[in-house]
């Protein structure tokens, strides 16, 4: 028999045996305590409600919004485009595909920050990346997006811009009113009055 065939047959058998020798695919290792502590103290996991609002308006496919409240609460009210995975289901293997994302991102939403933060903590401990928390939850959402309050007149320009963005989002989500234009701080430009040009008229 041709030696090439024998070599190939041995190679195939070795590769097949390799699949049997390999240990079962390990679950993701839990995050070391030091790293977890570092991640908890950092606030990079928080996303502002206005950021979430923008993602909903843009229908950004990179972000999946996950409502971690109970299904009753979810059915009562939820943000458009969110899916519901109640916090107590977070260890259910059925949902691991949603929570352990490599390319996409998740933003957890609850009434406040607490439950969403717990959800983030559970995921982070398992070593899942790319999960975020909507800061302040739905309460903050109502405050910032649905009923934004104007900043004091002495506030910075950035604060006003932020307020206008919230107002615009408020219109999209059906809160607030149409008085955006009145809230826009006008640039105080010096008024230049043009001097009437008087042409020399003939006659006198």
């Amino acid at each position: 028999m041709n030696t090439r065939y024998i070599i190939l047959a041995i190679l195939l058998l070795a590769l097949g045996a390799g699949t049997m020798i390999l240990p079962d695919k390990a679950e993701k290792e839990e995050l070391p305590a030091e790293r977890l502590l570092l991640d908890i103290t950092s606030d990079t996991r928080f996303k502002e409600p206005i950021f979430v609002a923008q993602k909903i308006i843009e229908k950004d496919p990179v972000y999946t919004l996950i409502d971690v409240r109970t299904s009753d609460q979810y059915n009562e009210f939820h943000l458009p485009g969110t899916i519901n995975i109640p916090l107590k289901e977070f260890n259910n293997p059925e949902y691991q595909g949603y929570l352990d994302r490599e390319v996409k991102n998740n933003i957890f939403i609850s009434n406040g920050s607490l439950k969403a933060d717990q959800a983030w903590f559970l995921c982070r401990r398992k070593g899942y990346e790319n999960n975020y928390v909507m800061q302040g939850g739905l309460n903050q959402w109502v405050e910032n997006i649905l009923r934004p309050t104007p900043p004091p007149a002495t506030a910075s320009k950035a604060a006003f811009e932020e307020y206008n963005r919230c107002k615009a989002a408020s219109l999209y989500f059906g809160g607030g009113s149409m008085d955006i234009s009145t809230e826009v701080r006008k640039e105080e430009l010096p008024v230049k009055r043009k001097k009437k040009e008087r042409k020399v008229a003939g006659g006198c």
Partner: protein, 198 residues
């Protein structure tokens, strides 16, 4: 990382373009391996040429090994791969019909397309027959539907249905394939001791 389209690394709009490119590559390889010859293909039934058995069995074990190791290394998410749902009755009936067609015509659907593409008359006739078959099947589908969808097992994998794990099944498949190659070459030597090119 993979599969690339379900993970949205490649936009789903490229689906048909990629399918076309893979199809062209597949057709080219079939044709250059001599699979557009009905004599070569039918040889597997008469025992003088087992290249079909060897090529497709090798492809199956290579793909199985590749997917297993890639999944292990985390390069492909095996759970995201599309698995054709199994309808047992339909699969058995379809297998018998296709087997008979293969012996009679000397082609399977893909290779007949290859033969038709290079202008072989038997390829064209086979293709015509296939279209007639598709037409008849479609017309009688309401009558056949119940049998067609009966014994639905869903997207089941062979090793799951046998209660084995993937690695054991791959090993069994490799051993069976190597045994089949050996037996096939023995039969081929007996029936046609001199290699004949078509």
């Amino acid at each position: 990382m993979g599969p690339l389209i379900p993970q949205e690394i490649i936009d789903p709009q490229w689906n048909s373009v990629i399918a076309l490119l893979i199809g062209m590559a597949f057709g080219f390889i079939l044709e250059s391996s001599g699979f557009s010859s009905s004599r070569k293909l039918a040889g597997v039934f008469y025992g003088y040429d087992f290249v079909v058995l060897k090529v497709f069995f090798t492809a199956a074990i290579t793909a199985a090994l590749g997917l297993y190791y890639f999944d292990y290394a985390g390069w492909i998410d095996g759970d995201l791969l599309y698995i054709n749902p199994t309808y047992l009755t339909g699969a058995i009936a379809g297998g018998v019909v296709m087997g008979i067609g293969f012996v009679l015509g000397g082609f399977c659907p893909g290779t007949s397309t290859c033969a038709a593409a290079i202008g072989k008359i038997d390829g064209w006739v086979f293709w015509g027959g296939m279209l007639v078959g598709v037409f008849i099947f479609s017309e009688f589908f309401p009558l056949l539907q119940e049998a067609y969808t009966s014994n639905a097992l869903g997207p089941i994998r062979v090793y799951e249905s046998l209660g084995l794990n993937a690695s054991t099944f791959i090993m069994i498949l490799i051993v069976v394939a190597l045994a089949a190659f050996y037996v096939a070459s023995m039969i081929q030597k007996k029936i046609r001791p001199k290699r004949v090119e078509f």
